[in-house]
Assembly symmetry: D3
Homo-oligomer: 227 residues x 6
Amino acid sequence: MYELGVVYRNINRADRAATDQLARFGASTVHEAQGRFGLLKPCMRPIYAGARISGTAVTVLMHPGDNWMLHVVAEQIKPGDIVVAALTSENTDGFFGDLLATSFRARGALGLVIDGGCRDVRDLTEMQFPVWSRAISSKGTIKATLGSVNIPVVCAGALVTPGDAIVADDDGIVVVPSANVRKVADAAAAREANEGEKRAKLAAGVLGLDMYKMREPLEKAGLRYVD
Amino acid sequence: MYELGVVYRNINRADRAATDQLARFGASTVHEAQGRFGLLKPCMRPIYAGARISGTAVTVLMHPGDNWMLHVVAEQIKPGDIVVAALTSENTDGFFGDLLATSFRARGALGLVIDGGCRDVRDLTEMQFPVWSRAISSKGTIKATLGSVNIPVVCAGALVTPGDAIVADDDGIVVVPSANVRKVADAAAAREANEGEKRAKLAAGVLGLDMYKMREPLEKAGLRYVD
Amino acid sequence: MYELGVVYRNINRADRAATDQLARFGASTVHEAQGRFGLLKPCMRPIYAGARISGTAVTVLMHPGDNWMLHVVAEQIKPGDIVVAALTSENTDGFFGDLLATSFRARGALGLVIDGGCRDVRDLTEMQFPVWSRAISSKGTIKATLGSVNIPVVCAGALVTPGDAIVADDDGIVVVPSANVRKVADAAAAREANEGEKRAKLAAGVLGLDMYKMREPLEKAGLRYVD
Amino acid sequence: MYELGVVYRNINRADRAATDQLARFGASTVHEAQGRFGLLKPCMRPIYAGARISGTAVTVLMHPGDNWMLHVVAEQIKPGDIVVAALTSENTDGFFGDLLATSFRARGALGLVIDGGCRDVRDLTEMQFPVWSRAISSKGTIKATLGSVNIPVVCAGALVTPGDAIVADDDGIVVVPSANVRKVADAAAAREANEGEKRAKLAAGVLGLDMYKMREPLEKAGLRYVD
Amino acid sequence: MYELGVVYRNINRADRAATDQLARFGASTVHEAQGRFGLLKPCMRPIYAGARISGTAVTVLMHPGDNWMLHVVAEQIKPGDIVVAALTSENTDGFFGDLLATSFRARGALGLVIDGGCRDVRDLTEMQFPVWSRAISSKGTIKATLGSVNIPVVCAGALVTPGDAIVADDDGIVVVPSANVRKVADAAAAREANEGEKRAKLAAGVLGLDMYKMREPLEKAGLRYVD
Amino acid sequence: MYELGVVYRNINRADRAATDQLARFGASTVHEAQGRFGLLKPCMRPIYAGARISGTAVTVLMHPGDNWMLHVVAEQIKPGDIVVAALTSENTDGFFGDLLATSFRARGALGLVIDGGCRDVRDLTEMQFPVWSRAISSKGTIKATLGSVNIPVVCAGALVTPGDAIVADDDGIVVVPSANVRKVADAAAAREANEGEKRAKLAAGVLGLDMYKMREPLEKAGLRYVD
């Protein structure tokens, strides 16, 4: 995590097929499936509702108020990638807009996760190019200082290593280390298979207290009822 | 407010008919009608726009990161209730998702107000199960520690006593003590009856300055005009 | 900026034709076109998505929790104005709702920018009366203390002089001093004319690195690639 | 909690002797002793380090930016009281300064807890009149709107009923319902008696793991060690 | 407020003698004396307690993460000045440390007010060079982008014109337009002369209710007492 | 970073001699010396002023509101260590107090960095056991859920690997990867050697503009002076 001015061209992207599956489960199920790790902070919000994507991370580290490296990272994007942008300190400027989105999409990017600000949200919504950001801001950025591309970064409180799988939707963003993607996808599938039956029972009025057999542990823990 | 590990089964719910009326007026009118009291802090936001509900509060107090008591409170829900969930300290984890919503709805709950995080917002939106929360987060919670059900709680800065009426919409959430519900509903109705005429006048170009006879008090207070 | 209890009736509004053009370009392009100045802080958000307006500022300064001056400013509105409301200290109360919106619209106002809270957002959305605010809150306000109308104010971190042009959309809010409006409108038009071609190139896969000739300055700055 | 414009003159103050003891234990021990309830939010900070007080609450509810009721509450102070000031919505204005502190002290107040701002902190520090507040601000307040005195209030997230005991120090502020003060003081004393021995053991290098017999439950919970 | 890359060398500094007097009164009294205007937001805090200064403003506008212009402003400092640094968007980086403080002091500066971060606070405290900032941060800044010196700026929500008087202490920071300094100093002196007598009365147990003759207006406003 | 319920007993601690040197330089100089990386967010503040330490990191990951693992990490502390505590989601509870500090000190710990809350700050100050935390809170924590010890963690936005060097003082906290500690210590020493001469020049009135030869690049960048 300690190099500035470097672009790593070759990264080990997570298994494509397994990565692609993650979007189907969504961020919350994937987060559960990997043991409740890898969640970015909830201050990160989608610029429009309804997007749900999964892809492999290409990462970029930038200086506050300077988006030069977004042009550098564009060249490193491969189809199926999601760009994950981190900053060296907190900043809400509008690093990204519809021109960069056009370029990213042309390179095959599925979306952007940026621990900073985004602009042109009306155009991005029309293009249906999804962005998760800390803020929306018209403030333009300069192109003066080097950062790095495809180094491990901390984005909104989570470590993202280039090539990791990312899944993002209305609930948030989860990073899955590339080595775990298959296992996590399987666990998520198993979890989901499970949920249909549970949902049906709950809808029929069965209580979680009974379905999950919680009455005994609750009593043991000392819960008492007063009429 | 000072008991952990207790579930009160019998609470005095506010008058149903009067409570049901409150939704029609909405949070802002009800807040005015009861003398500008009982508003939860504006950091509480609906997970989707357009919901407007009123109901009787069943309350639950939980530990940060632990949603065990949501399963306990489910059993205490009666048709027409709104669950009001408070935490012992600030936390944005995703305490509530579509499975619990399915269960709550099966019990007759109209919605949830939670001073914490919520997840599965896409599913909740599809189900049209309204939630007002402090955050949206994929972060799952554990089931390890007792809280209480149906004790008075402070939720987002407002005291909520079990059985109080709750009205919630895009403007926010207001609690009405059960003893006041009828009176407040009447005051809200009177207020609203009043508004149609006012709106027509204002739309016709009459100024509030004149309609509310403010010119004299403004002058008395020292307001001066400069050309 | 140092007078309380004064209403200035005559202000020099920015050129109407040039002001009207700004909406077409939007806040982000206008912000760029005037050299990245005049942006209000990104904590200011529209109450619904999709509005894009430009108009001339009438300003009002209020005390926290007191909206009396909104009735005073209503009388000073001319068609094509946008009301810009500042507070003497931070406060999220609901200063503005559908009745005032009805009055403002009758006077010709295009929208409101308020460094405080707003309510009746469902009605305002139905009316399509756009508001940019710091918060949404049911909390009503009193009418007890004088502020001023049409004095220069600092609103969400930006100086707004009465008569300045305002442009607001989903990206944020920008103030353009009245003396600069024509020049800024021209610069924005030039900027936009430019963007179509760029967008086409980027969509065709041309990289910003090449289109903006960034490779040489990046290399000079020391960027290195690692395979 | 739903009356404006009322001053309750007679309140049931918690037992004086038991209340006086609480300061000796401090906020953290008292908070533990009453089962981890009654803590005000940690955004409340002392204006200077080192104060530690306990007393009985007289309460006051004010409008943002209006400190009129602080003059009203002054008359209701009795020796040994702590004034607890709540606001109807968030506001950081400087409601309180050295003149009011002089008056409060003359009436016997031991300190102030205010969910708003404070000023004259240099003078207050010299006077050693302790204040816990949400902010420090020079902003003066007006005297225009009625609030109430000695009604139950929610202050920084905790319910305070007039007469409750308050204990405040560098760690924060805890409210103890008047009915519980003796019991809580006893529990705090027992807790503290216990701590000397524990501290000595820990200082000698005994691990909490052993002293609290945690190894077995940790193992049961699945903790594993890797060399 | 709309020029980048410009240094104004000649500014009209407020009257020195009157400016020097302001420190004696402190920020809160000066803020009152000029009608409760000109206060910077309370998020601005001194890096150490006890400093109280007044001086004339030299202003500087910088880009987030870039402190180049602090070197430029140093040359424009005259004895008795206070540097007021604003940013084009929110940023907490450490723009200022002990080397710049050494330089500023050698030029005659009395202190710094910066709407960003500061570092070397231990050294600055030893030097007794007072700084009011939004944050303390070790994060270094670059020297790549032009801002401006001695243009009007918005700093922490207040407009500061070069040459205005600044008064800063533990309570906060107030700006006094240069044209008003004498008048404000006189008003502050009158205010303070007044306070000694008031303080003595209050210390003797006289209530503000009586001293300020508030009982009648409170009764008129509807205040009622309940025994 | 993806294991819960594991304690790594053997970690590679950074070189002791080099680590010990870092405290002498302080966080800001070390941050510069390693190329402006590794800074924890500025919301982390020391509980008292004046502490300056450096040591090797032992890490712990905890659940919000649960400090069980602090007892587990105590056993893994070796003389010269600093405990770095991260949470799975944001929480300000008081995880740490004087008893744990007594235990940590007995094991040889120099201090604690915790991305949560701390209590007993008066006692910790008397003991001179330094803590950097996000908050101060009396709120106690439970002992119910496993976390991990000595896994890589993200603490306040920075990745900390067990054994890394930590330097912390009034300016903030910097992590230095163990492999870099010697190099960084050398760079910091060189930097500091440099500063004495610079300070003397600046104190003598030499401008940074001249000392750093900035006039030419500023002119090239377009800076212009107006008289």
